[in-house]
């Protein structure tokens, strides 16, 4: 029989890396019950908490990298334990102390970010290539809005449409906006969740000094991950500017009467709440308001929407890792959408876009259904 002794030194390492909230856990297992992983495989969140409490954490375990940081458990935890902080602390211990192994795919993405400032390993000078034909101007002091599209739409050929649609809308509405130079880097949200704290700090410092030297007052972002870190994490590091997700910005333009739709989209559209917009930041209504405003569009809902919305599987650095077929949450989502008779799955996050795009292909539904960012739908209807 295996006998364990509590090893408080390991607990201390996790505490030092920010895992102290786990002290409060009373082991009810609600987190496990809520965790979306248990729809597809076993993932005992509670057990990870208890192992960490006793210093019995297996830093080499694959489960160290499993959590998608979707916040479903934190939202309901009866003791208010910030479970994501604990998961991040365990990863931090691995990444910084080298006491376990980081999955290859994640290590490469992190290396890319450190090297060229984006996880895709693309050339920094090509960051704004997507906008070449759109006459988007460079941000200069005094420009009203900085549009910051996220690395994925900037480089990924399929997802570029998120950025270009946004620019098209802003152009049509004659908004005074600009793009920041190619020295911008990844916001760092996902590498931070993956445990690369130092990398995050240097990315944040780079972006903060870039924004402040350009006198940026308001940033509009396409990615809820950029939104989250700019809004909730950069201020502590000195980055103080107003941040709006594109859906919030567009909803405000509709409210002011500046944005009006002229074309109909006669489709059944189902909206998937991004975790970092919804559960992490309580933005649920604006994306729906926009979709409901488009003439002809019929908005339908997933069986578990809003606070209960299922993650696409791309948070917490998982977007850079491989998830085996049969364990992809976005596959479940695509099936649910098909069952509801949706024509389009509307999204508001580039990571969701990547995952749903792949799921449409792998489930053979690319013919019958489309994935579209809300910005794309707005650009079509304007």
């Amino acid at each position: 029989m295996e006998v364990l002794s509590p090893y408080k030194e390991a607990t201390d390492v996790i505490f030092e890396a920010g895992g102290e909230p786990l002290k409060l856990c009373y082991q009810c297992g609600l987190c496990t019950g809520i965790c979306p992983w248990n729809l597809v495989r076993s993932f005992l969140v509670r057990r990870i908490m208890h192992e960490a409490q006793l210093g019995a954490t297996d830093f080499g375990s694959e489960d160290t990298w499993t959590c998608v940081t979707c916040r479903a458990c934190v939202q309901r935890c009866p003791r208010g334990v910030e479970i994501i902080d604990v998961m991040r602390a365990i990863r931090r211990a691995v990444a910084s102390l080298g006491i376990g192994t980081v999955p290859d795919a994640l290590r490469i993405s992190a290396k890319n970010i450190t090297g060229v400032g984006n996880p895709l390993g693309e050339a920094p000078e090509k960051r704004n290539d997507w906008a070449r034909d759109l006459k988007a101007k460079d941000f200069a002091s005094g420009t009203e809005i900085l549009y910051f599209p996220c690395c994925v739409p900037s480089y990924d050929p399929d997802v570029k449409t998120v950025a270009s649609s946004t620019a098209t809308i802003l152009n049509k509405l004659k908004i005074d906006y600009g793009l920041i130079g190619t020295e911008a880097k990844c916001c760092g949200e996902s590498v931070r969740k993956a445990g690369y704290e130092d990398t995050f700090q240097s990315l944040a410092q780079n972006n903060i000094s870039l924004f402040s030297s350009n006198d940026v007052k308001t940033v509009v972002v396409s990615s809820p991950h950029c939104y989250h870190t700019f809004k909730n994490e950069y201020p502590e590091l000195g980055g103080k500017f107003k941040v709006m997700h594109i859906t919030q910005y567009l909803a405000s333009l509709i409210a002011k009467g500046k944005l009006k739709f002229s074309k109909e989209i006669n489709k059944k559209v189902i909206y998937s709440d991004p975790c970092y917009l919804g559960r992490h930041n309580d933005v649920y209504d604006e994306p729906r308001l926009i979709l409901q405003g488009i003439p002809g569009l019929e908005l339908i809902e997933f069986p578990d929407a809003r606070e209960d919305g299922l993650c696409c599987g791309g948070g917490g650095g998982r977007i850079w890792m491989d998830t085996p077929k049969g364990e992809r949450f976005s596959d479940i989502r695509v099936e649910q959408a098909a069952k509801k008779g949706a024509d389009v799955i509307a999204l508001a996050c580039p990571y969701c876009f990547l995952n749903y795009r792949d799921s449409l292909l792998s489930t053979g539904k690319a013919e019958s259904m489309q994935v579209k960012d809300i910005a794309e739908l707005v650009a079509e209807a304007i």
């Binding site: 009373y26 297992g29 609600l30 496990t32 009866p78 003791r79």
Partner: protein, 653 residues
Amino acid sequence: MEEPRIGVYVCHCGTNIAGTVDVEEVAKYAETLPNVIVSRHYPYTCSDPGQELIKKDIKELGVNRVVVASCSPRLHERTFQTVLREAGLNPYLFQMANIREHCSWLHEASPELTEKAKRMVRAAVNRVSQHVPLEIRGLPIFPATLIVGGGISGMQAALEIANSNHMVYIIEREPSIGGHMAQFDKTFPTLDCAACILTPKMTEVARHPFIRVLTYSEVVGISGFVGNFRVKIRRKPRYVDEGKCIGCLICQEKCPWTALSEFNAGTSERKAIYTPFAQAVPNIPVIDTEHCVYFLKGKCRACEKFCDAKAIRFEQSELIFELDVGNIIIATGFDTFDAFSIPQYGYGRYPNVFTSLEFERLCSPTGPTEGHIMLADGRPPDSVAIIHCVGSRDKNYHEYCSRVCCMHALKYSHLIKEKTNAEVYQMYIDMRCFGKGYEEFYDRIQNEGVNFIRGKVAKVTDEPITEEEKNKLIVLVEDTLLGTMLRVPVDMVILCVALEPRKDANEVARLFHLGRSADGFFLERHPKLDPAATMSEGILIAGCCQGPKDIPDSVAHASAAAARALAMIARGKIEVPAVTASIDEDQCSGCKICNLLCPFDAISFDDEAKISRINEVLCQGCGVCAAACPSGAITHNYFTADEITAEIEGVLA
């Protein structure tokens, strides 16, 4: 005033003080202070010989003011004040220096501690010179007691007091007394039926010569103070003449209009003219004007037509009257947590998800199913899940433990096993079976073959993934002891909902000047040593309005509150504390600033004399008025500006 002759007594407290403070030196130093005629040090000043020492000095040396340098005044101020009183000195000619908690225990050992103790003694000597004798006065009280709430706690307190032949009024806002306990079927851990032990008590209360039960009534106002409250009561119209009604209930039988039964927790209907349950006390119906069609549309009067006693009174109106009482016991009970707040458990969406209170009614022979445990479609369940801690022990709802749910969950298991032989699953976080006979009851239920799953339920769903889950409710939970996710298909789910403060607890708190603890329940004066009293003198709390309790604890709490009230009734008068504020009428400019500041409405304005006056009985001695008076006309006795200045100068000199 006579020249102060101060005696100083420095306590060793064994080694607690003497270990780090040179008590001998402190005592010697005290001798050098002005007006000190004797200074001693003694191993345990609070002991009998220590007290005798002080008494002897008062009598033989003519000591007329006393300073004791020992522990916290919160511990022994009263002890030494009694010594003074017994020796014939006014107890307020006394000052303590807290050289234990605030000196020898609080700082690292160093010679500085002796110096600090000296400064503290000097400050006390300075201050005691300023003290003046204060009067403790007595005031007669009303012997009657008002009890708000006619549940088990209110009834228990009423009987305790009334059995001493003192008048008690019970105010109950429902048409009948009985409270939540009347809704229960069996009671844990003995499984005696609630009605069998409660209804005789209800009858006893109703027939007691010293108890007057006022149902369908509420307290709407209160004035006065401890021992001398005047309470304003509103009696809602029953529309039935209580003197004439013989309780035949033909009206209820003939009434064609219905509403959901509150007593059956909404699981069945009642009529628009109704008594809430068959054993209601008083057994006199009320007309619910929100559902009576005569009141809504002016037509019907069926009840009137069939009433042989001619007791229906559609023209009745509400009655406002006043009662004079000396003590008030608040026993307003609890509400149950709204299960709709946790949508993932499916309450309201799935007809076979019940709350604990609904299940009590389902089990009860007087309930909607005459005691048959059945599903919404009338079938008996093959399997039942009982979910613990619904709304309890959860920061998103109530952080506290509701204390009764583990036990009633065990009771439900037993009743289900007894009546249906269904498979029972208990989903619990921790089993808390702490009372007398409770662990034994847990043992018994386990022996009956109930399944225990340790884990907080994540979700109840009706979406099957296997054949055997079809047409079932599936409970998703991690079995934390196995370390595996479970899907438990059942026919019925019972949610053990939290006990929470009454929805209108805030208004009740404001009316009776009660504090509320962080959980929203009424705040007791001391959580351990004074759980039935409140910070408002003469207002006591009993039962679940103070926090979740089971029946034995509610009864004990109610008896404790009754004992408190009886103590005052037996004394027949109250002592007004001397630490109050008083106004120098010559200096008062009549600015009224203090009137509004007083949290106890103890200061009123005398329109004729154009000055403010303090009711010393209402005054609780906080000193807010004295600190705010721009004319310096208010004195906070025992804490006067001169006294505190003397102490300040003492510590700083």
